[in-house]
C-alpha cells in the first residue's frame, strides 16, 4: 500500500483521505459505491497485522481518555451492550469537481452550500461498555504509551495544531483547539466526580445508570463495511479506530425542541460525546481469553502433555490449598472452571457444568468464599458475584430491559459476556417473601442455570439470548432455587493461609485455563462403546439416574480429558471421572 505519506497512528484520517484519493484515481466511483470500502481496511489491516503494532495503539479507558487526542487511532476493548441501529451520514460530497469523503468522521467538513452533490451512506452504531466483571490483570497498561505520547504531543503541539487545522480547515477552530487540549474529556471527568455538574449538562442522561462502576467508560462505536451477522450482542470485541468527539457538546441542550428529540435517535442527547467517546472503527476482532494474556499465545498444542501435566499439578495444588485441602472439591472446581457450552440441542446446553458447594455457612464462607473468589479473579478474565439475599433479589435488575423512553437497552446484571464466571452466594439467604421482581429474578437465574439462556425484556415481548456462564454456587444445603449440575458437600480439613503466587505462575495458569477451554475434543470408536456400556450399567444399578446425570458424566469426562491437554477421551480419564462421581455420591450420603 501507499508509502508513509501519513501516520496511521496519529493521523488516521489523513491515511483515509490519502487512500480515498488513490482510489478515486484508480476508478473508484463514490456515486455508485454505496460507501463500500476502497482499501482503507486493507491498509490498516496490513499495518496492524502483528500484535506488536497493535500494542502501539493506546487503549481507550477511563484513565487514558484524559490524554489521548481526538482524531488519533485508539483501541477500545469492550462488550457490545446495545445496538443502536443504523445511521445515515453524508458519506461523500463533491467539492467543486473532486470527491471528498466523510467516512470515519463525525462532522461534515465541507463548507456548507458549496457542494453540488452528496451521497448518503450508512454505518452501524454499537454501544459498547467495558466487559462487566473484567479483572484487573486483563487491562493492558498504557503507561509507557502515555509517556511516549505526551512527549510527542508536548514537543509537537504547535505543529500538530497547525497540521490538524489544515486537514480540517472547515471546522470551527475554537472547538478544535478546545479539543486538542483534551479539555472536554478532562472536564467531564471532573464533572462526574461531583455528580451534580454533569446533570446540568445533560438532563436526560440521569436515566442511564452507569454501566458498572463510575470508572468504566462506555464507547459508541461506529462500524463500517461489516456484515451484520459478524458481531452479536454481548460479544467481546477489540475495535481499532479513530477517536472523535463533537465540539458541539457544549451546546445548550435545553433549546433542542421536543419534536426533534423524538425523531432523532436521541443518541446525541443521551450520550454526549463528552461522556461517551465515539470511535470510528477501522478494524475489529473478537477477543478470546488469550488476547488478554501478556504473551498473547496459547500453550503449544497437545504435543507436550508433560507441560500440561505440570501446570495442572501446580494449579491443583493451589486450588486444593484454597479449599482447605479438600481434594475432591478442587478436582470438581477445576472441571467446573474448564466448562463451556459447546452445543445446544433444544433446551439443553451441552457442556455446561455448574457446581454447588454445600455445607458452607456464613463463617466458612468468609474464609473460603473470599479466598476462592479472589483467586478466581486472578485466574479468569471476567468474574462476577451475586449475593443471593431477599433484598437483593427483590430490588436488583438482573435481566436487561428495554427502556422505550430513551430507546435503549438497560443493562442488567445478567447481561454478561460469554465465558464469564459467576459466583452465587446463597449462604446469606434467609427466609422471606419475594415480590414479583424477586420472583422474576429467581426465574432468570434458574433459567440461566438450566438452559444457559437469559430472557431480555422488551416489554411487549421477551427474547431469549443464549449465554455461556460458569456458575458456582455456595450454599448451606442443596439449593433448590438454583439447581446446579453438581452438588458437592464441601469438607475442608484445615485453613491454609493464602499462598503468594508470582505473576509468572499466575500467567501460566491463566494461559493453561484458556488453552484447555479452547481445545477440541472427540471420542474414539472403541471408547464410545465402553462409555455406553458404563452408562447402561450405571443406570441398571441406579434407576434414579436420568439423562441429565449421564450427560453430566460425559461433560466431566471431556473436561477431565482437556485438563490434561488431550483432545480425545482416554479410558483412564473416563475412569477417573467415574471414580470422582463415586466419591461425590459417597459424600452426599
Amino acid at each position: 500500500m501507499g508509502g508513509p505519506a501519513y501516520d496511521c497512528l496519529t493521523n488516521p484520517l489523513g491515511a483515509v483521505r490519502f487512500s480515498f484519493v488513490n482510489a478515486l484515481s484508480s476508478g473508484y466511483d463514490p456515486a455508485s459505491s454505496v460507501g463500500k470500502d476502497w482499501g482503507v481496511v486493507d491498509l490498516f489491516r496490513h499495518y496492524f497485522s502483528d500484535e506488536s503494532a497493535i500494542s502501539q495503539v493506546p487503549v481507550l479507558d477511563s484513565s487514558s481518555i484524559k490524554w489521548v487526542q481526538p482524531k488519533t487511532l485508539v483501541r477500545f476493548r469492550g462488550m457490545i451492550q446495545d445496538m443502536l441501529g443504523n445511521e445515515f451520514y453524508a458519506g461523500a460530497y463533491k467539492d467543486d469537481t473532486t470527491w471528498r469523503t466523510n467516512k470515519y468522521s463525525d462532522v461534515s467538513q465541507f463548507p456548507e452550500g458549496s457542494s453540488t452533490e452528496m451521497k448518503v451512506w450508512e454505518r452501524r452504531l454499537l454501544y459498547c461498555v467495558p466487559v462487566p466483571g473484567q479483572n484487573q490483570w486483563t487491562e493492558c497498561s498504557s503507561q509507557e504509551l502515555k509517556n511516549r505520547f505526551l512527549d510527542l504531543t508536548g514537543q509537537n503541539r504547535e505543529k500538530r495544531v497547525r497540521v490538524d487545522e489544515e486537514m480540517t480547515d472547515s471546522i470551527d477552530s475554537n472547538a478544535l483547539e478546545a479539543g486538542l487540549n483534551g479539555s472536554p474529556f478532562k472536564k467531564m471527568k471532573v464533572g462526574e466526580a461531583t455528580s451534580s455538574a454533569s446533570e446540568s449538562q445533560v438532563p436526560q442522561s440521569s436515566g442511564i445508570p452507569p454501566a458498572t462502576s463510575t470508572e468504566s467508560l462506555p464507547c459508541l462505536v461506529k462500524m463500517y463495511d461489516s456484515p451484520e451477522s459478524d458481531l452479536k450482542l454481548n460479544d467481546v470485541v477489540e475495535f481499532l479506530g479513530v477517536l472523535t468527539f463533537d465540539p458541539i457538546v457544549m451546546m445548550d441542550t435545553d433549546s433542542l425542541d421536543e419534536n426533534s428529540d423524538d425523531l432523532s435517535e436521541a443518541e446525541s442527547v443521551q450520550m454526549p460525546s463528552g461522556k461517551v467517546p465515539r470511535l470510528h472503527c477501522l478494524i475489529h476482532r473478537k477477543l478470546e481469553t488469550q488476547h488478554f494474556l501478556r504473551g498473547s499465545s496459547l500453550l503449544p498444542e497437545p504435543k507436550s502433555p508433560q507441560i500440561f501435566k505440570e501446570i495442572r499439578e501446580s494449579l491443583m495444588k493451589y486450588l486444593t490449598g484454597l479449599l482447605g485441602n479438600d481434594h475432591i472439591a478442587s478436582q470438581f472446581l477445576l472441571l467446573h472452571l474448564l466448562s463451556k457450552v459447546h452445543g445446544r440441542v433444544d433446551n439443553v446446553a451441552v457442556g455446561k457444568l455448574s457446581l454447588n458447594l454445600i455445607h458452607l455457612n456464613k463463617e466458612s464462607m468468609s474464609i473460603f468464599g473470599t479466598q476462592l473468589s479472589d483467586a478466581l479473579k486472578s485466574l479468569l478474565p471476567f468474574t462476577q458475584s451475586i449475593p443471593l439475599t431477599i433484598e437483593y433479589l427483590n430490588t436488583a435488575s438482573l435481566g436487561p430491559k428495554k427502556d422505550y423512553r430513551i430507546n435503549r437497552l438497560m443493562p442488567g446484571v445478567l447481561q454478561i459476556a460469554d465465558g464469564t464466571h459467576l459466583i452465587l452466594d446463597e449462604t446469606e439467604l434467609q427466609p422471606g417473601t419475594l415480590n414479583s421482581v424477586g420472583v422474576e429474578n429467581a426465574n432468570l437465574l434458574k433459567n440461566l442455570l438450566e438452559c444457559q439462556k437469559v430472557e431480555y425484556d422488551f416489554q411487549y415481548y421477551k427474547m431469549e439470548m443464549a449465554t455461556d456462564v460458569q456458575m458456582l454456587i455456595f450454599s448451606e444445603g442443596k439449593s433448590n432455587i438454583m439447581p446446579a449440575d453438581l452438588v458437592l458437600p464441601f469438607q475442608p480439613s484445615q485453613v491454609n493461609s493464602l499462598e503468594v503466587i508470582t505473576p509468572e505462575t499466575a500467567e501460566a495458569w491463566r494461559c493453561y485455563l484458556a488453552t484447555c477451554k479452547s481445545l477440541p475434543h472427540s471420542i474414539g470408536q472403541e471408547l464410545q462403546q465402553v462409555v455406553e456400556n458404563d452408562l447402561v450399567a450405571a443406570r441398571q444399578t441406579d434407576r434414579s439416574l436420568g439423562s441429565q446425570d449421564l450427560s453430566r458424566l460425559l461433560t466431566m469426562a471431556r473436561m477431565m480429558s482437556v485438563s490434561y491437554g488431550e483432545t480425545t477421551l482416554s479410558l483412564e480419564h473416563w475412569q477417573m471421572v467415574l471414580e470422582l462421581e463415586r466419591l461425590r455420591k459417597e459424600r452426599l450420603k
Binding site: S108, M118, E228, I248, M251, N347, Y404, N435, G477, G546
Partner: protein, 846 residues
Amino acid sequence: MASDSSPGNTNDGPSSPGENVSSPIENTYSSPAALHRRRRGRSSTPTQFATPPPPPTRLASSNSTPPTSRPSAARSNGRNGRGGGGGGGGGDPGTPLSTDEPLPSSDDGEDDGADDTTPTFVWGTNISVQDVKSAIEMFVKHFREARENSEDLFREGKYMVSIRKVIEIEGEWIDVDAFDVFDYDPDLYNKMVRYPLEVLAIFDIVLMDIVSTINRLFEKHVQVRIFNLRTSTSMRNLNPSDIEKMISLKGMIIRSSSIIPEIREAVFRCLVCGYFSDPIIVDRGKISEPPTCLKQECMAKNSMTIVHNRCRFADKQIVRLQETPDEIPEGGTPHTVSLLLHDKLVDNGKPGDRIEVTGIYRAMTVRVGPAHRTVKSVFKTYIDCLHIKKASKLRMSAEDPMDVDNSLRRVNEDVELDEEKLRKFQELSKQPDIYERLSRSLAPNIWELDDVKKGLLCQLFGGNALNLASGANFRGDINILLVGDPGTSKSQLLQYIHKLSPRGIYTSGRGSSAVGLTAYVAKDPETGETVLESGALVLSDRGICCIDEFDKMSDSARSMLHEVMEQQTVSIAKAGIIASLNARTSVLACANPSGSRYNPRLSVIENIHLPPTLLSRFDLIYLILDKPDEQTDRRLAKHIVALHFENAESAQEEAIDITTLTTYVSYARKNIHPKLSDEAAEELTRGYVEMRKAGKFAGSSKKVITATPRQIESLIRLSEALARMRFSEWVEKHDVDEAFRLLRVAMQQSATDHATGTIDMDLINTGVSASERMRRDTFVSSIRDIALEKMQIGGSSMRLSELLEELKKHGGNINTEIHLHDVRKAVATLSSEGFLVVEGDRIKRV
C-alpha cells in the same frame, strides 16, 4: 431526482442542509420549502416541474416544525399530512418557482395550464408529468375489479365509486390499493414507488379535479392514501437507497408521542390599532412576525402580536416502530424507526399494536445546535406515513370480554400469522400423519412414552369449553397426571410442555401456594435447603399449569386445586373480601410414588397418597414405570454420547420445530372449534355403554364401575382436541376411537385392579377396588368368626399377631397373603361396629 441517492440532489440546490439551519432567511434559494408547499405548488401548476427540481426534500432542514404550507392557504390543511413530514423545510431547494413564482392558489383551475406548456418532467427523470397525470386519470376513472367487468361494464370504476362516497360523507381521503394500481398500470405503480412525492402530488391534483367536476362546491381536500404495496421491506434492510421511496413495512408500535399541535397559519393583531393580519402561513418551519402593522394608516413598528385562537393548527404525532421478534436475527437487538403521523392518522395505533405502514422513507439533517451553522454529517430518518393498517385480529377472536390481561400474554400467543404461514399450517394439517408427526415432534429427545405424548398433545390443543345459558360450565381443559418412577424424564416432559404451552407456569409442588404473585423463600431448618414457594394457578389462566412433585404439595394448596380443576376459578380471601379469580387452566402434574419406587401391588392412590377426589379430576392418568430395560438404556446412552461428541441434530428426524409447533397449537386453539358429528356422538354413546358393561363381565357379584360420567366428558374433550389437531371443524368417528384408545391406555395403567386385571374406576374414585372391598369384607367376617370362636365377651385379650396366625390357619376363604396391616384395618372396622375393643396391640371382645 438523481435516482437513488436523493440526498445528492438536495444539495445541488443551495439548500444544503446547512443553511436551512443557519439562516432560513436566505430566500434566494427557495430551499426548504416544505414539501407541502412544493406539493402545493405542484399541484396547482404542474408547470413547475418543468424546470426545477423539487426533489423531495429529504434534508429537511432541521427546523423541526415541519410542514409549512406555503402559499396556497386554501389547500394547506389536509395536505400537509404527508408532505410536510417532519422535515419541514425540505431541501426542495431549487424549485425556483417555489419562492419566486407566484403560486396560484386556487385549487382548481390552473391545472389546465399545464397543457399549454411543453412537456414537463419530474426533475431529474424522464417522467413526464402529463403522462403520469393522464395515467392516473385513466386509472381512477376506469379501474374495475376483475370480477365485476362482465356485467357491469358500464358501471363506474371502483375508485369513482369511492370518490362519490367520500364526497357524500365529506371524507378527506381515498384509500387506493397499490395492487390495483399495479394491475391496471404497472408502469404507473413503479413510478409511484420510486417517486412517491411527485406522483402522489399529481394523484391528488387528479383527485381534486375529479371531485370538482362531480361537485363544484366540495371544499375539502381529498387525498390519496396508498396501501398494500407489492413488496414489504424489513426494517433491518432499510438503506440509503430507500430514501424518498415509497415503502411498506411491518412492526410493533412501542411508543407514541402526545399529539403535537403544529401551527399552519398564524394571525397577528396590531396592538396599536387592532388590525388583524391575514393568516400568515408557515414557511420553512417558521412564521415571520410582521415587523410593522400592515395597515397603511397605522404602520406601527413591532406592534404585532400573535392571536392564538385564530391560528390554525394541525395534529402531528411521532410514533416509534420496532421490529417484531421474528425478524430479529440471533444475537441482535430489535431495530426501531420513527413514524410521522398527521391529521387523521394520529392515534391510529397505540403502543403494543402490530401495524403495517405504508409511507415514504425520509431523512433529514441533524442540526448541531439551533444557533450553529454546522450540520452534522448525519441524518435522522423517519417514515412519513401514508397509511396504517393494523395487523389482523386473528388472535383476539376467541377471547371473551373478560380477558383484560393483555399484558400477561406471552410472546407466542401474539404470534401473527401471515397468509403464507397460515397456508403452510393448512397444508400441514392436511397431512395424513399429522397426528403422528405432532406427537413425534413433542419432546423428540424423550423416547418411548408415545401414548403419554399423545395425551399431552391433546392437552395442548384442548377441548371446547362450553358455557350453557343455564350457567353450567363445562371445562374444555384436559388435566393429566403422570405418576412414575424417578428418573423417567417426567420432569423433562413437564418442562417441555411448559415451554410449548401458550401461557404455562412451571412450579414444583413443594410449596406451591396456588395463588398470589409473590413467592416465599423457605429454608429447611435441618438441611439448610432452600425452596421457592410460588403461586402458580392464577398466572396460568388459559394456559397449562405444570406442577412437578405433585405429591409433595401441601394439603391446603391441593384443596385449592379441587376448585381449579372443576370450577376453573380460585377463591382468595383477603381483608374480608372473597375474590374469585379465573384460573381456566389445564393441570399437568407429575408425582412420584411415596415409596421410592412404584409398587405395582398397590393402587395408584396408595402409591402416591393423593386424595381420590382430586385424582378423579384428572382426565388421563399415566403410569410411567421404569422397567429396567437394557435396550432403552442403551439407546439413551447412545443418544447422550452422540450429544456430546457429534453434532447431535441427528435425533430429530423431520420433527416440526418448536416455534412452528407453538404457533400451530395456538392458532388451532384460537380458531378451531370442532363440533361433534352425529356419527361421532353415536360412537361415543356406544363406546361408553360398552365400557360400563365391561364391569359386569368380571362376575355379577362384584359391582365394578368401569366408566363414570366424568369419563364421557373426558372423551369428548379428547376427541375435540384430536379434531383440532387436524384443523377440522367436525369431530369424526376416528377421533372418538382414538380418544377411547387413549383413555383405555391410561386407565389400563392406572385403574387396573391388579387382583383381577380389569379396569375399575372405583380405584380412582375411592381408592379401593371392588375386589379389594370384597376381600376386606371376607376378612372382617372371618375375624369376627375367630373372635366369636376364641374369645369371650370381656374375657382375655388377644394379640394381633396371634390373630394373624389364626387367620392363616383358618385359611379357608382367604386365598391371598395376609398382612398385619390388613388385619388392623379389619379390626378397626369391627371395633367401629362395637364388636371389639382395640387396646394397643391387643384386642378384646365386648
